[in-house]
Symmetry: C2
Subunit: 221 residues, 2 copies
């Protein structure tokens, strides 16, 4: 299954600017991207980066450049792959997995891909009602990433009479956007035998878990 991984090469992860400077955000975003690509590959998916601009490093997979906003770029990619209505139910399935799912594992992506082979649409909701990953197999589905896209995507599917499967996974629900999310990367890296590049990058940059005030956050040494 082809798995598109959208990636912004232009000022990625701006909501981390309180704790990382622009170059650090860029490096951390690329570490997460490579972790996601590895997990997709290990899950049996065929990853392709859908980037807003050229990637200046070797990610060992194909890269498509489309500088349009996320929703437009993903819809164009879905349209190109699912046939825009003229191939119907036999069209191949395509997945879209966000590049900042630093906790994604091959096992849970495999669950998503499996769910997407059974249903017309398989969704992995994110915190705050986002759509962190999905598999679509019907040209009548399109994305709209603004607002609570998980609910909008369910509604788009329902309007088209499509069956929907939901993958309930904390790992897939956790997109790393804000400083508090860095703690999630470190927590689950500490529990994983095989943590990825993003966690290693954070540790190298001096980040550690901080439970001093009773809640779990990060501090930088």
């Amino acid at each position: 299954m082809e798995v598109l991984v959208p990636f912004s090469t232009d000022r990625p992860k701006s909501r981390l600017s309180a704790v990382l400077d622009a170059e650090e955000r860029d490096r951390f975003a690329r570490a997460m991207l490579r972790d996601v690509l590895d997990a997709v590959d290990a899950a049996g998916g065929d990853p392709r980066v859908l980037a807003t601009g050229p990637l200046d490093e070797d990610v060992r997979c194909r890269v498509t450049v489309d500088d349009r906003p996320l929703t437009e770029a993903v819809n164009a990619a879905l349209d190109a792959r699912l046939g825009g209505g003229d191939r119907g139910g036999d069209a191949e399935r395509v997945a879209v997995v966000m590049a900042d799912l630093a906790l994604a594992t091959p096992e849970r992506l495999r669950d998503l891909f499996d769910a997407g082979r059974e249903a017309d649409l398989a969704l992995a909701p994110g915190r705050g009602g986002g759509t962190n990953a999905f598999v679509a197999g019907d040209p009548r589905f399109s994305v709209d990433y603004h607002g609570a896209s998980y609910l909008d995507h369910r509604e788009i599917a329902a309007s088209a009479g499509l069956s929907v499967a939901v993958v309930d996974s904390y790992r897939l629900a956790t997109d790393v956007d804000e400083p508090g999310d860095l703690a999630e990367v470190l927590i689950h890296a500490a529990a994983d035998a095989d943590a990825g590049r993003a966690a290693a990058w954070l540790a190298d940059a001096g980040f550690a878990l901080d439970t001093a005030d009773g809640r779990v956050g990060v501090r930088r040494e």
Copy 2:
């Protein structure tokens, strides 16, 4: 399987004080508790509330009152049930499920209970490294809810040579503590055919999803 549901009758959900007054927080906390008890029951568990004080309403299950802090009360309950070392591996399993898991479903609790029958310890981590639910079957396990308890609990289990299973579920990872968490209740209630009392209570109290500023939050009418 006996399933303990700890509940604080004394000023529950204080971190919601920016959006709910004390009486509202109490009513909302009880709505979540009853949703959790229903889900435990539907999952085949035998729920028992472990309350810090008498519950002045009928929750249709047994209630044990223990006014000690959470960690001490849960350890005393584990000790009483798992035999404090003198029954060993044949001791029955006991689960502990937090009362504020408003998104918990019978299906995912059943997954947890199943995992807890296979491993010595099954953990459902929460956001921020908490332990939102677990099943323990060995008297060498004890809890420590301070800090990143998910990591501490893994370490306690590892030190005792216990096998650990992790249940990766967004629904079980979502404890409702802060104003932002209310959006999760409304989002998933909107997607569920059979949403619970907590979501209904929020809707009755005038809460609705708000996507005005681009992110998904709640507003109150």
